[in-house]
């Protein structure tokens, strides 16, 4: 009896703690949401109050003036293509490093790891001049390539961990069944590391989705700007248009949340799959 009572009280404690955490997470975001309905003057005079009226102009203005529609589409194209290529190329390299047997596996991993350590500001100008020479500046492809390359290291790094921790027997048994190495990769290794793929996919997608500096420097054409660049339009030289910027942020957040929810449910599938596996 007492054991059960204890475990219930522990459960209650856990839930209270989690609810507190949830509050800390939600309140600031809710605040952005509320602010996005206010006028600039209201933000400065009464930052915490509820908006006097739901001032929807911010949203319509942000949508049209920020050209968020086109920008969202561009972001989807760039980040979507990057995501697919990144998962494919990255996990292939990770598979080679984690599973195939060759002497240079460790140095290879370190080589890729180096990529995570590069501050993007350091390579911005060399990268840009190179791209400009081969005519890749000011095109979405010119953005996909560096995004892909910057996403690769983290994908390789995390996926290597997943492939390494995969039970040997599975690969052995596949070998005995006469599978080729490509079968093993596509039919055994990849499906088994689904969770890893979704986690890295999410991480890199989100990172690219929010990337501002490269997008700003590489793209000059209005019609090719991505979402973060469009958001930055509301920061003027002498003053910032906060209410419209927050409205734009809300608009920009929505697709991310949709993508995220889809992905996160997949991760949950992965979690349960893992639990059943044993």
């Amino acid at each position: 009896m007492s054991d059960k009572a204890k475990s219930t009280s522990v459960k209650v404690g856990i839930y209270i703690f989690l609810i507190l955490m949830a509050v800390i997470y939600i309140v600031p975001l809710l605040w952005v949401f509320i602010v996005s309905f206010k006028t600039n003057a209201e933000i400065f005079s009464a930052p915490f109050s509820l908006p006097k009226s739901f001032y929807l102009d911010n949203f319509t203005f942000a949508w049209t003036a920020g050209r968020l529609g086109k920008a969202t589409l561009n972001s989807f194209i760039v980040c979507g293509i990057t995501l697919i290529l990144n998962l494919l190329i990255g996990s292939m390299a990770a598979f080679a490093i984690g599973r195939l047997r060759f002497k240079l596996a460790k140095p290879c991993l370190t080589f890729f790891l180096l990529g995570m350590m590069i501050p993007v500001h350091c390579v911005l100008i060399p990268l840009f001049t190179r791209f400009a020479k081969i005519g890749l500046s000011n095109s979405l492809l010119g953005l996909i390539i560096p995004y892909l390359t910057f996403s690769l290291p983290i994908t390789v790094y995390i996926m290597t961990g997943f492939f390494e921790s995969m039970p040997n027997e599975l690969i052995e048994s596949a070998c005995i069944d006469g599978a080729t190495i490509y079968d093993i990769f596509f039919k055994v290794a990849l499906p088994l590391s689904r969770t890893g793929l979704f986690v890295t996919g999410l991480m890199t997608f989100v990172g690219n989705w929010n990337e501002l500096l490269m997008a700003m420097v590489f793209i000059s054409d209005e019609a090719k700007k991505t979402l973060p660049v469009s958001l930055s339009k509301f920061v003027g030289p002498y003053n910032t248009n906060y209410s419209q910027m927050f409205a734009a942020i809300i608009i920009a957040i929505l697709p991310t949340i949709v993508v995220y929810c889809t992905f996160s449910n997949q991760i949950v599938d992965g979690l349960t799959a893992g639990a059943v596996k044993g």
Partner: protein, 435 residues
């Protein structure tokens, strides 16, 4: 699994397309021309690019909106001959982007730049072209108010940039609060402290300022240095020292004045400090005249209560011009010059004064009754001043030196440094980096 992923991406992309479908109609007006711009070059049209630090669709800045009009006028008037396409960024990413373009030999044909060390960066390596020949033609140069407007853009006797408008740093004040507290507009430094004292006694916050945005505080510090007779040129060539006591007493004055700042001055940003003023929470705002548009735009009722006076105790006024430079490697210098001219023609300069609230750089006649009330006060202040000086952080040998000055003044204000330490710090910095 891969199929699932593909399906996911596709559906996401599709929903985005749907979204764009809904909003697409409204937002293609102004910049239709940038899409068509590139291919126009084939039919003999000289296509040039202009780089700017604000977005023309999203901006609230009236001056930026005026520039958008200018572009439209230019493209219309020169249709079939010249065409300009703007490249817009925001101020934060402006210089990284400009530098990247310069490094890859794609320098925009015309670009906006702050005078002072920023312009020097592009003049020294020969990125910006001298403009004297173009200015000499058709009396363009004579249309400007005086040759003095070019002083910050002149290197070795050659002019490298054209100013578009001038903003002056002034003290804006709430006339109602001044009246209620029985305060006259201060003329000297002692008057100023006295006025602050009275305002405070009457229950008002005397001064609102932003120390969170370092250049705002540094504007005041610049005036105080001017009051003490700091000579930047002599400091730069080493014939004077920061430790000669002038900066020290200027910094001491800054701490005296800081007693009257709003309580939250240390953390307030530029926008917040200005909002304090137009929401009538403080009596004096020391700010550039670009704030006029922001003040009147946010609180139109306040225009009638807003006065302007010259920063007390100094004779010169701090002024700043946005200016345009031309790439030395442009293919179409004539088109560039024609384009730059459009910014200083009558229509553009009239707009600058009447709508933008900045001081025109040419001798244009404008309708003072249409212009914001504050502009005529600023013009009076400007007219009475015995000359101008640049913003302090833009008048030093390098951008870094300017920023260092700003930061040092913030430290003095926060009490991290005594005025004497600040002077020593500046001297150390100058002797290590600037001389």
């Amino acid at each position: 699994m891969k199929k699932k992923l593909m399906a996911l991406i596709l559906s996401a992309a599709m929903s985005a397309t749907l979204l764009t479908g809904c909003g697409g109609g409204a937002n293609d007006d102004v910049s239709q021309n940038d899409a068509t711009g590139d291919n126009a070059a084939d039919d003999g049209v000289q296509e040039i690019k202009w780089m700017f630090w604000d977005d023309f669709n999203a901006t609230e800045d009236l001056i930026s909106k005026g520039y958008a009009d200018t572009i439209e006028r230019f493209n219309k008037d020169y249709e079939g001959k010249y065409h300009v396409t703007p490249i817009t960024t925001n101020l934060e990413e402006y210089y990284p982007k400009l530098n990247a373009l310069v490094a890859s030999e794609e320098t925009p044909d015309v670009f906006i730049v702050s005078p002072g060390p920023n312009l020097t960066t592009y003049v020294d390596p020969g990125v910006a072209a001298p403009l004297d020949d173009y200015l000499a033609k058709d009396g363009w140069k004579d249309s400007f108010t005086s040759d003095a407007v070019f002083s910050q853009m002149t290197y070795d006797g050659k002019i490298y940039a054209v100013p578009l408008n001038t903003a002056a740093a002034c003290a804006f004040y709430n006339t109602e609060m001044f009246e209620n507290a029985g305060v006259e507009v201060p003329k000297t430094w002692d008057d100023m402290l006295e006025a602050c004292k009275k305002l405070e006694a009457a229950g008002y916050t005397p001064v609102t300022i932003s120390a969170g945005t370092a250049w705002c505080l540094s504007m005041v510090a610049g005036y105080l240095c001017e009051m003490e007779g700091v000579d930047l040129a002599a400091l730069a060539d080493g014939s004077a020292s920061w430790e000669d006591g002038k900066l020290e007493s200027a910094a001491t004055k800054l701490t005296e004045l800081s007693k009257y700042f709003q309580k939250t001055a240390a953390g307030d940003t530029n926008d917040v400090a200005t909002a304090n003023f137009y929401n009538e929470e403080a009596a004096i705002l020391i700010q550039g005249s670009w704030a006029i548009a922001q003040i009147n735009g946010s609180n139109p009722d306040f225009e009638s209560k807003c006065g302007v006076f010259q920063f007390p105790g100094v004779e010169r006024i701090i002024a700043k011009s946005d200016s345009l430079a031309m790439s030395a490697t442009t293919k179409y210098p004539e088109a560039c010059a024609a384009f730059m001219k459009y910014f200083t023609d009558e229509t553009a300069q009239k707009y600058t004064a009447e709508v933008g609230g900045k001081i025109p750089v040419t001798n244009v006649e404008y309708d003072a009754s249409v212009a914001p009330a504050q502009l005529s006060y600023v013009m009076d202040v400007f007219g009475n001043a015995k000359g101008t000086l640049g913003f302090y952080n833009e008048s030093m040998p390098t951008t870094e030196a300017g920023a260092h000055f700003d930061d040092t003044m913030v430290s003095v204000f926060l009490g991290d440094m005594t005025p004497a330490e600040a002077a020593k710090d500046m001297e150390d910095f100058y002797s290590a980096n600037c001389r």
